[in-house]
């Protein structure tokens, strides 16, 4: 592609300034975070809370990104997404329970390998489940929002029940692998290991998604499809294949997030996906329906705010994200980084 740039005296694209419209949300997050520092007053506590908030935000982002991507491209809001989170958590935890010698070993490498294996298994299973879901449940109702909501709710119920059938009715508790228990300490600052891992993995996913969307041809097709599906197919792309691909990827991300969330809470239940869906919806609305970057910032905001308010004013902590949603929608009714849509 770069060959086409040769010898072009193209006018430079308008440079985005630091204070441009699109950067404001990120700036706002940073300001909130600094304001929290002033309110909390202790640096070490603030660092711990900020890391906890970032970790929570990253995990929510991983779970929410698939939902928002699917919505952006296909205009489908998948309530069944929550079931994939649970399904992924169960699959991942099962793998970990099957490998006690790996997770219990005092070897960080084996611990991490066990988690990676669990993630791969979870993503594999939820990816396949997503494929079936798209073909059987969602495909017949493209374009009909009412039926989509109903039918994906139905899919959620059935998938949840199938989890009960396969894994039994009880919740499963799990300890994190040895290397991820406890925290690193630097002076008075304690950094929980698992949270650090969550932040790292979340960042990897975010940048991988950004790279895919902005740096590959597939990403180009997806971004174009978000705006105008008809035109993409009129340019010769089989949009239905792209739909399947994105749906499967979105479901697999839900599975990935499910494993992380399960390890974070150290317990998995069939209902966990639906419970966290409320947070995810808030994040997706805040970010702007269909926007991956908006979803990222929204998730960070929700995660940080939950932890700051949890420390400063535990009473309002649980409702803080709803408050945040209302405030953001008053500021930007379409969400932080809305997506252009022609139809």
């Amino acid at each position: 592609m770069s060959t086409n740039d040769k010898g072009l005296s193209a006018t430079r694209a308008p440079k985005l300034s630091l204070l441009s419209e699109r950067n404001l949300p990120l700036l706002a997050t940073a300001i909130v975070s600094l304001a929290a520092l002033a309110l909390i007053g202790q640096f070490d506590t603030w660092v711990t809370l900020t890391l906890a908030g970032l970790a929570m935000g990253m995990m929510i982002f991983v779970m929410a990104s698939g939902l928002t991507l699917v919505f952006g491209l296909m205009d489908v809001l998948n309530f069944g997404h929550g079931a994939f989170i649970s399904l992924g958590a169960f699959a991942g935890i099962s793998v970990l329970l099957m490998l006690p010698s790996w997770t219990g070993a005092d070897v960080a490498f084996l611990n991490i390998a066990a988690i990676l294996l669990a993630v791969v298994a979870a993503m594999g299973l939820t990816g396949v489940a997503g494929y079936v879901f798209e073909r059987v449940i969602v495909k017949p109702v493209y374009g009909d929002h009412l039926k989509q909501i109903l039918i994906t709710m139905g899919g959620l119920i059935v998938t949840e029940q199938l989890i009960y059938v396969l894994w039994g009715p009880d919740e499963i508790t799990i300890l994190r692998p040895l290397a991820l228990q406890g925290s690193f300490t630097f002076g008075t600052i304690a950094i929980e290991k698992f949270r650090l891992l969550a932040v790292v993995l979340g960042l990897i996913i975010f940048f991988a998604m950004r790279w895919t969307l902005n740096g590959t041809r597939l990403g180009l097709v997806i971004r174009a499809g978000v705006e105008n599906r008809e035109m993409v197919s009129a340019l010769g792309y089989r949009i239905s294949m792209v739909f399947i691909l994105v749906f499967v990827a979105g479901s697999a991300l839900a599975g990935f997030g499910g494993v992380l969330w399960g390890l974070y809470e150290e317990v998995v239940t069939a209902h966990m996906g639906m419970n966290v869906m409320i947070l995810i919806f808030i994040v997706v609305i805040i970010g702007g329906l269909g926007s991956v970057e908006g979803c990222f910032i929204g998730a960070l905001m929700v995660g940080l705010l939950a932890n700051y308010t949890g420390y400063l004013a535990p009473k309002v902590a649980l409702g803080s994200n709803i408050l945040l949603m209302v405030l953001i929608l008053m500021w930007r009714p379409e969400g932080l980084l809305p997506v252009n849509k022609s139809r």
């Binding site: 919505f71 809001l77 449940i137 017949p140 109702v141 929002h145 009412l146 039926k147 989509q148 909501i149 109903l150 039918i151 709710m153 139905g154 899919g155 119920i157 059935v158 029940q161 199938l162 009960y164 059938v165 396969l166 009715p169 639906m274 869906m277 409320i278 919806f281 808030i282 997706v284 609305i285 329906l289 009473k315 649980l318 409702g319 709803i322 949603m325």
Partner: protein, 355 residues
Amino acid sequence: MFSYIFSGDFPRSKLLTLLLVVIVVGLVLTPWLFPGSRSMETAMRIAIFIVLVASYDLLLGYTGIVSFAHTMFFGIGAYGVAITLNEMGRGYDAIFIGTALGFVGSVLLAFLIGLFSLRVKAIFFAMVTLAVASAFTLLVSQLYQFTGGEDGLTYSIPRELSPAFKLMKDKVFGVSINGKLVLYYCILFASFGLFLFMLRVVNSPFGRVLQAIRENEFRAEAIGYRTVIYRTATNCLAAGMAALAGSLMAIWLKYTGPDTTLSLNIMVDILLMVVIGGMGTLYGAVIGSTLFIMAQNYLQELMKVASDQFSAMGLPLLPDLIHPDRWLLWFGILFILSVYFFPTGIVGRLRKAKT
């Protein structure tokens, strides 16, 4: 006269009429036909859910709005009565004030939510209401001084409505005529009344406009109907009806807690009942609620027998699939099939079969 009672909207199918008659007669005669407190509990639940599900159908079936906040209004009605009974003691004044407060509160809240979000797409409304409902549930558990938090509230209702109050010395056909029986019929007829009121609403000119909006929103708007106003009004009406159903529930159970009123599971149940019974026809609410609650209470026993049988035969997986706790699995599948193949539900099917 019938035409007046049913607002001219008859079941329009012999089988459906028969089913409805069986349900109504069954509910009226439950204390005699199926003595025992369990069957009475089931019958009451059916009666109250008919109102609740019908009110949800006003939203979903008549205007195509998907709300996940319907249990919130149900809960507001229930907590209204529960809190006044708890604070003011067992009295009719408490019941009336609580019911009125719950009703007014629900309508106002529905109005606010409507102002805020009814202009937006269905999907957005669904998500916002889900978030609002979950925030409300949190609020209820936080305000435990008033609401009893997770444990809920247990309270007494006026003595004349309790089993200890005997109207007659002797039993009539084996059933003692006590305050509980009076309460049973009060709630049953209140439910019937509310249902018939909603039937009247959907068959009024107002209801016709709602149907026009559902069929083609742009056209309705173009003809000159302010769709937002109609939707907000429906949202308020549905919320008010749900609150009244909640008050009835609170009076009957003498207990109100998050699990009986606010939980997301109840919301899902309502959704299943509306769709399986039939969207866009209030009779669907009757069929859906009855079928669902009967299944909830009695299908499980049937499944248990079958599951034990298969389990004894040593079959794999199958016993788990029809384990009594998995009845929702089958209803979920039925729900999906309903949305695909007969979106007008059982009632729609029956009406079609006739013609």
